[in-house]
Amino acid sequence: MQQQEIHKFLERYFHANGCEIIDSGPGYMTVQLTIDLDKELMNRPFYWHYLEKTGGIPNPMQLTLITNQQLAPPHIKGEVIHFGSPRLHQIFDSARNLAGYIRLYEDHRQAQGKQVPLRPWLGMNIRVSYQCDRKRDVFKSIGLQLINGQMVESFHDRLLGMSLTPKIPDYSFTLSPLIMPGSGVYRVANFIKAEIEQEDHIWAEEARQRWQKDLSLLEHFYEEAEEKGESYEKEKTALKEQYEPKVNISIINGGLFYLTDSAV
């Protein structure tokens, strides 16, 4: 992530959370936090607890972030933000937490007087992690139409091309799903699992070989001991945790999308 991208990202994050950027220039920005975002980011629960008990006037903090030390004027004091900085990762986590679930309607702007049906879609953004003593991740975005069961990949990219709104547009009505959202999630999960099972898992095979090798070394080491003892058991558990290959599917975010027939 380039510094410029980080700067843009922060601007959008604060805007989306209703914070006013009270000062900004090349390489820096000062943000007036809202009460909610102060609680989210500033880690001062005692202050907020005290304020709620005493009924004082809340005074959320201002935050100055420097995204480029070369460009920022030297008198600006603030936190330096880069890709590895704890503050940025806190904001990353916050973005994930604040937008885990969503419901949106396509803002179709069709001619007046005509009722437009909107079909329900379940959209899920998913991370698939392949883990042994190493790890890699794959991002997937799946859309499932909850009436006919049609499934599409790269669903999120398709959504990005549409105009979406949190309120149902005029002259629109939603069709009721035939597939309940719960079983929709189940279908998507099964689809991904089936896909993973089709893959070539050389990595897992290799991890098991490494595991087996270390395990036999361990056995050999304790071969002559009458009482293998605690350290043997611990080492054995440690090897399992270190090498055992597994795939984890976790959901980043997702929700319901009501779209026109022609949208997908």
């Binding site: 989306a16 790890k135 890699r136 993973i196 002559e224 055992e244 597994k246 984890n248």
Partner: protein, 562 residues
């Protein structure tokens, strides 16, 4: 090939609940941002290092990056990092830890380091690696913090021990791991019983160890890698030091150990200047030394005493205080000292009292005044340390003491005082390890340790990455004493100080003759005459030179210079 697939159902439960409750629903812009975050933080490959991208303020050296890559990709996260002193093992360990944390493979970490380094480790991990490491000071820290730095001596004691064993650590890092070479100690047992999923052992001196020590260290990291105990010792003689001779064993060890040498790193190091400063005893000092030396001819003295004459001789070269202290101890240890023994001691104490000035201290004072900059003085004896501090104070020179026995906070404080307020740091041997003093570039070896590796560790405190000036080393050796002999051997015959540590390692391991200390004790302590001493010295020297030649031969062969 089937593989276990897990599905996180927490999202789904909450999702269904929100459908029932008709919200609350997230903001579309934030929703999109969350996906962008995901795309930026997804790591699509098993291989490669992510950590450097997260560390804009740190420019790791090429050898450090290579180590990190190798540990992650080829050693499965279990390794002995054995770079020479001063090549940045902490940076390597930090890179590896960061890599695993970024990839989400490691969350809970236990870092065991010498007490004097606890704060420094915590500080470096925080400032250089943005890893929220906490120095263990209160017992709740174990459970509440994910990355904890502690001394092994604290960790192994209850209540800490039980808490640590009950926690699930993903990674264990142990600094100065060569201290775990003996598998009979409590420290060893403590570490052996830790669950080590990923594990790094850091040490600067593994090869100097005997083969049994290598076995113990490797078995701690990866039990069975060198076979079990009986099979191992069947193959390799227990007291052998010939790790290098056994190609197979060397290969095995290299699978779990990485060792970079200064010469391999391609970094320009500042130079070392070594100056031997001969010291002339005053008459009373000479008499004390000789009185001590004469003890050797006394019947029953050596056998009835726990202290060898050698020790007293070496102390006499250091300070009268050191001799006095030892004499007092000798008297105390005897339950019912014979009259003769008491008289003997009294006689020596008179000699001690006759000494009015310390020639070495005078020389040190001159030198310190001339240098007019920060200086570290190393001595082997606490009595000398205390005397020197008093002595320098008489001349208005500020100094701070440093000992291995200091508590962590005190060590940090002394280092800080030295950096900011004092001109001289006076350290005893035990203070040599585990403290970095790159801001100083002058060392006075007030007396010399016999083990060359210890000498190297002293120098390594200041001649390391981050040292910007040439390093000046002043060795004091009193003329006509055992010190002068040692000096001749170490300095003139084997050119010890000019070598870099790796060479020395190599050379010492080429020699099949065990511990160099033992040889020195034998030469200086047990020789009946000057002549015998000289012959034994010659022998030792030629063995060392022979090993050097061997090494050069190997080098030539390796570079194809045939």
């Amino acid at each position: 090939m089937t593989v276990q697939i897990g599905f996180d159902s927490a999202w789904q439960d909450e999702f269904l609940k929100r459908i029932d409750d008709d919200g609350p629903w997230g903001n579309w812009e934030l929703y999109k941002l969350a996906v962008e975050v995901e795309n930026h933080t997804t790591i699509p490959d098993f291989e490669g290092l992510q950590a450097p991208k997260h560390l804009p303020n740190l420019t790791p050296l090429p050898h450090q990056l290579e180590v990190a890559k190798q540990v992650v990709e080829r050693m499965n996260g279990k390794a002995i990092l054995a770079d020479e002193v001063g090549l940045g093992k902490t940076i390597e360990a930090g890179l590896i830890l960061k890599e695993y944390m970024i990839r989400g493979l490691v969350k809970k970490v236990l870092i065991l380091v010498p007490a004097s380094l606890v704060s420094q480790w915590a500080l470096e991990l925080n400032s250089k690696f943005f890893i929220p490491a906490v120095a263990q000071r209160k017992s709740y820290v174990w459970e509440q913090c994910d990355v904890v730095v502690s001394s092994i001596d604290t960790a192994k004691r209850n209540p800490h021990r039980d808490i640590i064993y009950s926690l699930d650590y993903d990674m264990i890092i142990i600094d100065e791991a060569h201290k775990l070479k003996n598998n009979k100690t409590r420290n060893y047992e403590f570490v052996q019983n830790l669950k080590k999923k990923f594990c790094l052992l850091l040490t600067a001196t593994p090869i100097q160890n005997r083969i049994s020590e290598i076995f113990n260290l490797v078995s701690l990291l990866k039990p069975g890698h060198l076979g079990n105990e009986s099979a191992f010792y069947e193959n390799y003689k227990k007291d052998s030091r010939s790790l290098n001779d056994d190609v197979h064993l060397k290969e095995l060890v290299n699978k779990v150990m990485i060792r970079n040498r200064r010469a391999d790193t391609g970094i320009e190091w500042t130079k070392r200047h070594v100056e031997t400063i001969p010291i002339e005893f005053s008459q009373p000092e000479r008499e004390l030394y000789e009185a001590v030396t004469e003890l050797r001819s006394e019947e029953n003295w050596v056998s009835s005493s726990q202290f060898s004459v050698m020790t007293l001789q070496r102390e006499a070269c250091s300070s009268r205080e050191a001799v006095y202290f030892t004499l007092q101890n000798m008297l105390k240890r005897q339950e019912q000292p014979s009259i003769a023994f008491q008289e003997q001691i009294q006689y020596l104490i008179k000699k001690v009292e006759a000494v009015q000035q310390n020639s070495k201290a005078q020389k040190a004072l001159e030198l310190i005044q001339k240098i007019n900059d920060k200086v570290i003085i190393f001595t082997e004896y606490r009595a000398t340390q205390m005397y020197l501090q008093w002595f320098l104070k008489q001349y208005g020179i500020t100094s701070v003491p440093f000992r291995g026995g200091f508590k962590r906070g005190k060590k940090d404080w002394m280092r800080e005082l030295f950096q900011k307020n004092a001109q001289v740091l006076i350290a005893t041997e035990a203070g040599g390890e585990g403290i970095n003093l790159q801001f100083c570039n002058h060392i006075i070896n007030f007396d010399l340790p016999w083990n060359p590796m210890r000498l190297e560790q002293r120098i390594g405190r200041i001649h390391r990455l981050g040292q910007e000036k040439d390093v000046m080393i002043y060795n004091f050796a009193t003329k006509g004493t055992v010190e002068e002999h040692i000096m001749k051997l170490l300095y003139e015959k084997i050119h010890l100080f000019e070598k870099v540590i790796g060479d020395l390692d190599d050379i010492l391991t080429k020699l099949e003759f065990g511990n160099i200390d033992d040889h020195l004790v034998d030469i200086f302590g047990k020789s009946a005459s000057e002549g015998e001493m000289r012959i034994k010295m010659e022998n030792l020297t030629s063995m060392i030179q022979f090993a050097e030649d061997l090494k050069e031969g190997e080098l030539n062969a390796a570079t194809g210079n045939s």
